[in-house]
C-alpha cells in the first residue's frame, strides 16, 4: 500500500528516539534508563519499517528490544539502585566525548549541506514484498564470508564469557 503521512511519522518517530536517547543518559535510576533505551530502539525499528526494511525491523525488535534488554534488566537488578540514585554522576572522559561529538556533528553538517552530491537523485526501487528473501540470498551468497566471520566472533565471545565466569572448568 502507498505510504501515508510520511513526514509526520518520520518526525514523530525521530522525536521519540531523541527524547528516549536523552532520557537514557540523564536518568539516575538505571532501570529508567533501560526502559528509555527500549523506547528508542522500538522507535528505530519503526523507522526501519518506514524505510521498507521490514526484516531489519523485525530482527531489531527480537534481538535488541526482546533479548538484550531482558538480559540488561537482569544485570541492572543486581546493581544497588538506592546507592546509584544518591551518587553524583560524573564523567571523566569529557575531552574524548567532546571530540567525538564535534566529529559527528561535523559529519552531519557536511551530509546536510552536500547531501545532494553524495546520495543518488532517485529513490531506489522498493523491495518490500520480497525483502526477507533478498536479504537471505545476499547474506548466504554474496556476503557469506563476512557472515561466517561474524558468527565465529560471536562464538569466541560466548567461549570467552564462559572462561571468564568460571575460573575452574
Amino acid at each position: 500500500m502507498a505510504p501515508v503521512a510520511t513526514p509526520f511519522f518520520f518526525y514523530l518517530l525521530s522525536g521519540i528516539m531523541l527524547i528516549g536517547g536523552i532520557l537514557v543518559i540523564t536518568r539516575k535510576n538505571p532501570v529508567h534508563s533501560a526502559l528509555a533505551l527500549i523506547v528508542t530502539l522500538l522507535a528505530q525499528a519503526s523507522i526501519y519499517l518506514m524505510l521498507y526494511a521490514p526484516f531489519v525491523a523485525g530482527v531489531q525488535i527480537i534481538l535488541y528490544a526482546g533479548g538484550i534488554m531482558v538480559l540488561f534488566l537482569f544485570v541492572i537488578m543486581l546493581v544497588s539502585i538506592d546507592r546509584s540514585v544518591r551518587e553524583r554522576q560524573f564523567n571523566s572522559q569529557w575531552v574524548a566525548g567532546i571530540i567525538a561529538a564535534t566529529a559527528l556533528g561535523g559529519l552531519f553538517i557536511a551530509v546536510y549541506t552536500k547531501g545532494r552530491d553524495i546520495f543518488p537523485e532517485h529513490a531506489l526501487p522498493v523491495v518490500e514484498n520480497d525483502n526477507t528473501q533478498k536479504i537471505a540470498t545476499m547474506l548466504y551468497g554474496q556476503y557469506m564470508f563476512a557472515f561466517e566471520i561474524a558468527s565465529l566472533l560471536l562464538l569466541v565471545a560466548i567461549i570467552g564469557a564462559v572462561v571468564m565466569a568460571k575460573k575452574r572448568i
Binding site: L35, P54, I62, G67, M69, V70, L71, E128, T132
Partner: protein, 426 residues
C-alpha cells in the same frame, strides 16, 4: 457522502486482499474492532470454561449461581474487578508500576495484526509476519519484569525473574521449531520460502499437506517442541512457576489489584490465544479445513461447509435441552427463559451460516477458531492434570531436551528437504 460510501464499497470488489494490503482504512478499523471484541468475549468465555472444566475434572460443579450453569459468572467477575479498590504500594516506582500492565496488554493484542483468520480475514499481511509475532510477543516479558521490579516487593521480584529466565530459555527452542516449519514452506517450484502468515498457510495448501504431517515424524516433533515451549512462554501450568501460589502468593502481579490486575489477566489469556494461533498457522493448516488433499471434490466441500452452522445448531440444541432440565422452581424462571432465548439466538446465527454466500466467507474463520479452541481446551487440560515443575527441572527440560531436539529436527528437516528431490524424483 457518496465518496465515503464508494470508498467503503471499493474494498468489497477487491479479491484476495486483506484490508491492510488494499489500503482501505475503514475496513482496517472494522477488522481491528471485530478482532478486539472477539478476543475480549473469547477471554471472558475462556475464564468461565476454565473454571467449569477444572471443576468437572475434580468432580466439583464449578460456578453455578450466576446465571444458568454460571454462564454469567465472567460478567459478575469483571464487574467485581472494576469496582475493587485500586491499590498502589507506597514504596512502588509509580510510573513503571503504572506502565507495566499496558505494556503487557499492548504486546498481547498487537500480534493479532498479522494473525490470518482466513485468506482475506487478517488486518494485514506482513512480509515478516511470523517474525513480527515472535518479536512483539517477546516484549510481554518486559512488562512482567517491569511489574515485578516496580512493585518493590520480594515475591513479585522473584516471580518476575523466574518468568523472564523461563521465557528467555524457552524462546530458543521455540525459535528452532518455528524455523524448521518455515524451511518446509520453501519446498515449492521456485524454492523460496516465506515468513508471511498467509503465505505459510498457502504453502501448506499448495503442498496439500499440513506441516505437522510433513516428513513424518519431523513435523510432529517440531510441533511438539513448540507445543511445550508455548505453554512455558505464556507462564501457564505446568510451567507457572512465575505465579506459583504456594511459594510466591501470586508472583509478579501480587501487588496489583482491581483493573490493573484484570489487564494482566486479560493479556495472559490473549497471549495464550496468540501463541495457539501461531501453532495453528504453522503446523495445523491455519484456516484450511481438515483433509484438504484427500477429500477435495465438491461433495466434500459442501459437507465441510455445513460444519459452522451445524456446530451452532448443536449448541442451540444443548441450550434448549438444559433449559428443559432447569429446576421448575419459580426463582429459576428468568434463568430458564434466558437460556432458551440464548439458544434461539445461537440457532438463528446457525441458520444464517447455512446460506452459501455467508458460509463461503465465514468457514475459514470457523476452522481457524475451532483449531485455536482445541488448543485452549488443551491448556485447561494441562492445568488440570500436570503437577507443577520445579525450577531446575524446567531449565533442564528447556536446555537439555527441547534445545537439542529442536536443533536435530532443524538439521534433519533441511537434509531431507535437500535429499528428497534426488531420491524420489531422480
Amino acid at each position: 457522502m457518496g465518496q465515503i460510501v464508494s470508498y467503503i464499497e471499493s474494498y468489497l470488489h477487491t479479491k484476495d486482499l486483506t484490508p491492510g494490503a488494499a489500503g482501505n482504512m475503514f475496513w482496517v478499523l472494522v477488522y481491528i474492532l471485530l478482532i478486539f471484541t472477539g478476543l475480549a468475549i473469547a477471554v471472558m468465555l475462556m475464564t468461565w470454561l476454565e473454571r467449569k472444566v477444572l471443576a468437572h475434572m475434580q468432580v466439583r460443579l464449578g460456578p453455578m449461581r450466576v446465571g444458568p450453569h454460571g454462564l454469567l459468572q465472567p460478567i459478575a467477575d469483571s464487574l467485581k474487578l472494576l469496582l475493587k479498590e485500586d491499590i498502589m504500594p507506597a514504596e512502588a516506582d509509580t510510573f513503571v508500576f503504572w506502565l507495566a500492565p499496558f505494556v503487557v496488554v499492548l504486546a498481547a493484542f498487537t500480534v493479532f495484526v498479522v494473525v490470518p483468520f482466513g485468506p482475506t480475514h487478517a488486518i494485514t499481511d506482513m512480509n515478516i509476519g511470523i517474525l513480527f509475532m515472535l518479536g512483539v510477543s517477546s516484549l510481554s516479558v518486559l512488562g512482567v519484569v517491569m511489574a515485578g521490579w516496580a512493585s518493590n516487593s520480594h515475591y513479585p521480584l522473584i516471580g518476575a525473574l523466574r518468568s523472564s529466565a523461563q521465557m528467555v530459555s524457552y524462546e530458543v527452542a521455540m525459535g528452532l521449531a518455528v524455523v524448521s516449519a518455515i524451511l518446509m514452506t520453501s519446498l515449492n517450484a521456485t524454492g523460496t520460502g516465506t515468513l508471511s502468515m498467509i503465505g505459510i498457510v498457502q504453502a501448506q495448501q499448495a503442498q496439500g499437506e499440513w506441516f505437522i504431517f510433513k516428513f513424518f515424524p519431523l513435523g510432529l516433533i517440531a510441533f511438539f517442541i513448540f507445543g511445550v515451549a508455548m505453554v512455558a512462554e505464556t507462564n501457564r501450568a505446568p510451567f507457572d512457576l512465575a505465579e506459583a501460589e504456594s511459594e510466591l502468593t501470586a508472583g509478579f502481579h501480587t501487588e496489583y489489584s482491581g483493573f490493573r490486575w484484570s489487564l494482566f489477566f486479560l493479556s495472559e489469556y490473549t497471549a495464550m490465544i496468540a501463541v495457539s494461533s501461531i501453532a495453528v498457522t504453522l503446523w495445523l493448516g491455519g484456516w484450511l479445513r481438515p483433509f484438504p488433499n484427500l477429500l477435495h471434490n465438491s461433495t466434500w466441500d459442501l459437507i465441510f461447509s455445513l460444519f459452522p452452522g451445524a456446530t451452532l445448531l448443536f449448541l442451540a440444541a444443548m441450550c434448549f435441552f438444559n433449559a428443559a432440565r432447569m429446576p421448575k422452581h419459580p426463582l429459576f424462571r428468568i434463568q430458564t427463559i434466558g437460556l432458551a432465548v440464548f439458544g434461539v439466538v445461537l440457532g438463528l446465527i446457525g441458520l444464517v451460516l447455512f446460506i452459501p454466500a455467508v458460509s463461503v466467507r465465514v468457514q475459514d474463520i470457523f476452522w481457524f477458531s475451532a483449531k485455536v479452541a482445541g488448543f485452549m481446551y488443551l491448556y485447561i487440560w494441562y492445568r488440570g492434570t500436570f503437577p507443577r515443575y520445579r525450577f531446575d527441572q524446567l531449565m533442564q527440560m528447556g536446555w537439555k531436551i527441547l534445545l537439542p531436539l529442536g536443533l536435530g529436527v532443524l538439521i534433519l528437516t533441511a537434509s531431507v528437504a535437500l535429499l528428497q528431490p534426488m531420491i524420489w524424483h531422480p
